[in-house]
């Protein structure tokens, strides 16, 4: 009985994912596509949960659907135009091209599906088995956290570089021209409502507690720096939307520090272990857990701030009320 319910659930979930993906692509209205993509992300989070990947369910809901969705919506808000659907190439040609593209995509699906189903479980020494076998030697109990911050910590470190580059790159896009003034994401265009203050007052401490909890629990179970950082970033997005954070054209020294802190702490930790005659990021016995914890705290802040800055579309942010008059 339970198995059957699971089957029906998985089947519906799978069907919804495919239909949603198709609608995201096919919908005539961009807004609809974006909203459906966010819904797709939320269903992906459920799929992760079904596939026994709670870490990913958390990350997907916060980052994949949440932050990405916020970024897409704020972009939509800025670029939405009343341009009629441009009179493109002759209809017949477009139609033929579409058929060709659909055939190509169908081919990708067929070949990919065939290749995937032909894969058998590898016989040789697999990374995964070793990972599970050696978790006990890492100072954390959770296998995914062990992979992220010990076995393959170098990946995680470089990934922080990608996030930093996204912030720098977004600034490079502006560098050619003066920052646009007056654009604001603040939703309270006609002055605050009492509800906004109440919400921010209630949620802010709660979100900080949740982020702290996620960070701490990462050593034992689903959670960790990425989930915690994404939740903190969500707080930043909320504060930015409600005018509690305002954009700045330049980042101050403190914010620049937070921006690179994760990368810096992580790198220095690795160079420190190397200076004591070990391999890069080969944590000394007994010090693994404290070192990982320090790195994770730095990572959390250095994940949250870039995401907020990218959403804000500015080089820096500051506390304050937006200058909009009622």
């Amino acid at each position: 009985m339970g198995e059957l319910v699971g089957w029906v659930f998985d089947g519906l979930l799978a069907l919804s994912l495919v239909l949603l993906a198709a609608r995201v692509v096919a919908s005539a209205r961009l807004f609809e596509s974006i909203v459906l993509f966010i819904v797709f992300g939320l269903l992906m989070a459920i799929a992760w949960a079904r596939l026994a990947a709670p870490h990913l369910a958390l990350a997907e809901a916060a980052i994949g659907a949440g932050i990405t969705g916020a970024l897409l919506l704020s972009t939509f808000r800025e670029i939405v135009t009343d341009q009629p659907p441009s009179a493109e190439a002759p209809k017949v040609l477009v139609y033929r091209l579409r058929v060709l593209m659909a055939l190509l995509a169908g081919g990708v699906f067929a070949v990919l599906g065939w290749a995937l189903l032909s894969i058998e479980v590898p016989a040789g020494p697999a990374a995964g088995e070793q990972a599970r076998a050696l978790v006990a030697r890492t100072g954390v109990d959770d296998a995914v956290t062990a992979v992220l911050l010990d076995f393959r910590a170098y990946d995680t470190l470089l990934e922080m570089g990608v996030l930093l580059l996204a912030v720098l790159g977004a600034r490079a896009a502006v560098a050619a021209q003066p920052p646009a003034s007056g654009d604001d994401l603040w939703i309270g265009g006609e002055g605050d409502t009492p509800m906004v203050g109440a919400l921010v007052g209630l949620l802010s401490p709660l979100i900080i507690i949740v982020a702290g909890y996620l960070l701490w629990v990462g050593a034992y179970g689903p959670g960790g720096a990425f989930q915690a950082g994404a939740v903190l970033a969500a707080l930043g997005v909320l504060l930015r939307l409600t005018g509690r954070l305002v954009p700045l054209p330049r980042a101050g020294a403190f914010q620049r520090g937070v921006l690179v802190m994760g990368l810096a702490v992580f790198s220095l930790a690795g160079l420190l272990t190397m200076a004591t005659g070990r391999a890069f990021l080969q944590y000394p016995e007994g010090l693994a857990y404290p070192m990982i914890l320090v790195i994770e705290v730095a990572l959390t802040l250095s994940i949250a701030l870039p995401l907020v800055l990218l959403f804000s579309g500015s080089a820096g942010i500051a506390a304050g009320r937006s200058q909009h008059s009622p």
Binding site: V24, L72, V162
Partner: protein, 101 residues
């Protein structure tokens, strides 16, 4: 059909839908959406394969996908920043055919 096999096929379908979207919709935000769909397809694939043996779930793909999600949001944010500034400068939201020289 087992649960991993079902999701592996769904992953392939989502990836292929993303390919179609990337090819057929020139609007830049839509292209970015399509790339994100393709990325989600790959992520789903990795995690579904990690569960082939229900007793021993492979943590390595989980870590890879977590990394991949952060990279995806970084690339998306960067791409959207370019789209926004391209729109501010030119009013365009898609790339016309580039005429060489």
């Amino acid at each position: 059909m087992s649960q991993p096999a079902l999701f592996v096929l769904i992953a392939a379908a989502v990836f292929a839908i993303g390919v179609y979207g990337l090819l057929s919709r020139p609007q830049l935000v839509r292209r970015i959406l399509a790339l994100n769909l393709m990325g989600n397809g790959v992520f789903l694939l990795l995690v579904a394969f990690a569960r082939r043996n229900p007793e021993t779930i492979d943590p390595v793909p989980h870590a890879m996908v977590l990394t991949g999600i952060v990279i995806a949001v970084s690339a998306t944010a960067f791409a959207l920043a370019i789209v926004r500034h391209l729109y501010r400068q030119t009013g365009e939201v898609s790339l016309g055919e580039d005429r060489p020289r």
